[in-house]
Symmetry: C2
Subunit: 265 residues, 2 copies
């Protein structure tokens, strides 16, 4: 039973709210029942430690039992210890310290993916998390997050993925031109989603293997990157809105792809 | 030139960040170039006063010129006055005090709408704003926000609509059962969007006039309301995600409708 909120172990978990500490340790934190449940179900081998208060342990016995059965180190701690580790104002009594989960692009491509998303210089944690969740729902094979993007293992992104971070392979750290080149080499059509696009979404063949390339929330995709893609696709706007936001545009594109690739629904 | 941040006029604008003050005055605030531009373009008659700093007036001459041409009362003020009126930490030098813009359901139905959205007990301002923006982009004819929902004229909702609040008719304040009954009376199919749905989105006929009925972000649509709708429709989930969030689900449904109703894209 961990009772000292000032212990070194507690401080080192709290430090993982900073990107530099995450990168040094190769660890990140998933909090709350939904994220922890999905971590235990889908990636138990990635969980280094699971911290649980007595109250949360009673409320979520199925999560703790599944973690124990999967060989996860489960530690009981006081609410004060959990609060000291937590990034949120209202910690929910369950916190998993996980090894950073990334796949290589080579691994992703070796599995012959049909639907991918590339986030090029996406900076907002909520957008990145929402796109990851949408990619999961649409059955995407992986999400590729370019260098100079938000850290997908930051507490805000992890929270906003609602567990999808543990479902979908994530590739990080590569420059966009290299990503686009490797996708082309694997025969994957690169579709830039951009308001400047000349092709409209309903006109595009989405049955072939393809990747949606989404640009930064403020400035979109720079022209050289658009030109490096096979097609630049615009989500049609039927009303007076200037545009959709990044997460909505990505969701519309991903679902158009999913429905085209799974015609039976 | 307004220079006193403690003037009564300034305080009464600042007070509009509270729902009670908005309801008493029948006024709300739209801030920043994007919202103010769309207010001036689409609903200049609803703008009671436009406040502009000298710097913003120079940077956005086209907005100020259009406002003046439309007969809007434009007031120059100091940055201190604008900051005292503003709800944001980084005011952008343009602030419009607008008359609350609502339509009646009767007016909306008289225009023979083909695509509507009903927000039933939606509480989160970001979700409501994002759905409004998505409804605009998808060419929806109106957004109907039930009683006991977030106030769509709150600063956060106004901001997250990115101007769409001035494009799309909004109906507020009615109980959900009454909304559903009036839609049925007008021959509009009521489609509840819910994870408990038995029909899958791609199977539903979206060419007929219909309304998407979206429930609360936490508890969805209560069963009696689902049963009061004509069909309960589920967005298919192809991966391991439990669900889409409200704004994403609404966007996917609205775009499916828009693409079905505008087959040429």
């Amino acid at each position: 039973m961990l009772t000292n909120p000032r212990a070194d172990r507690v401080r080192s978990v709290a430090a993982l709210s900073r990107r530099s500490a995450r990168e040094r340790a190769g660890l990140f934190v998933a909090e709350g029942p939904q994220s922890v449940r999905e971590a235990v179900r889908f990636r138990p081998e990635a969980i280094r430690d699971l911290y649980v208060t007595a109250e949360a342990g009673e409320r979520h016995t199925e999560i703790v039992d599944a973690a124990t059965a999967a060989g996860v180190h489960v530690h009981e701690c006081t609410p004060e210890v959990l609060a000291a580790m937590s990034d949120t104002d209202a910690p929910q009594g369950l916190l998993a310290v996980c090894r950073v989960l990334t796949s290589t692009l080579a691994d992703v491509l070796a599995r012959r993916p049909r639907l991918l998303v590339v986030l090029a210089h996406v900076r907002d944690p909520g957008n990145a998390g929402t796109v990851l969740r949408g990619a999961d729902a649409a059955g995407a094979d992986a999400v590729i997050v370019s260098e100079a993007s938000v850290d997908v293992f930051s507490p805000k992104v992890v929270r906003s993925t609602a567990g999808s971070l543990f479902h979908v392979p994530v590739v990080t750290g590569l420059p966009v031109p290299q990503i686009l080149a490797e996708l082309a080499g694997a025969g994957i059509t690169r579709l830039a989603a951009d308001g400047a696009g000349t092709r409209l979404l309903p006109e595009v063949d989405l049955t072939r293997p393809h990747a949606w390339v989404m640009g930064n929330e403020a400035w979109g995709l720079p022209q050289p990157l658009r030109e490096a893609c096979d097609e630049v696709v615009r989500v049609p706007i039927f009303g007076h809105a200037e545009s959709l936001n990044l997460a909505m545009a990505a969701t519309v594109c991903l679902y158009a792809s999913a429905l085209a690739q799974h015609p039976a629904g």
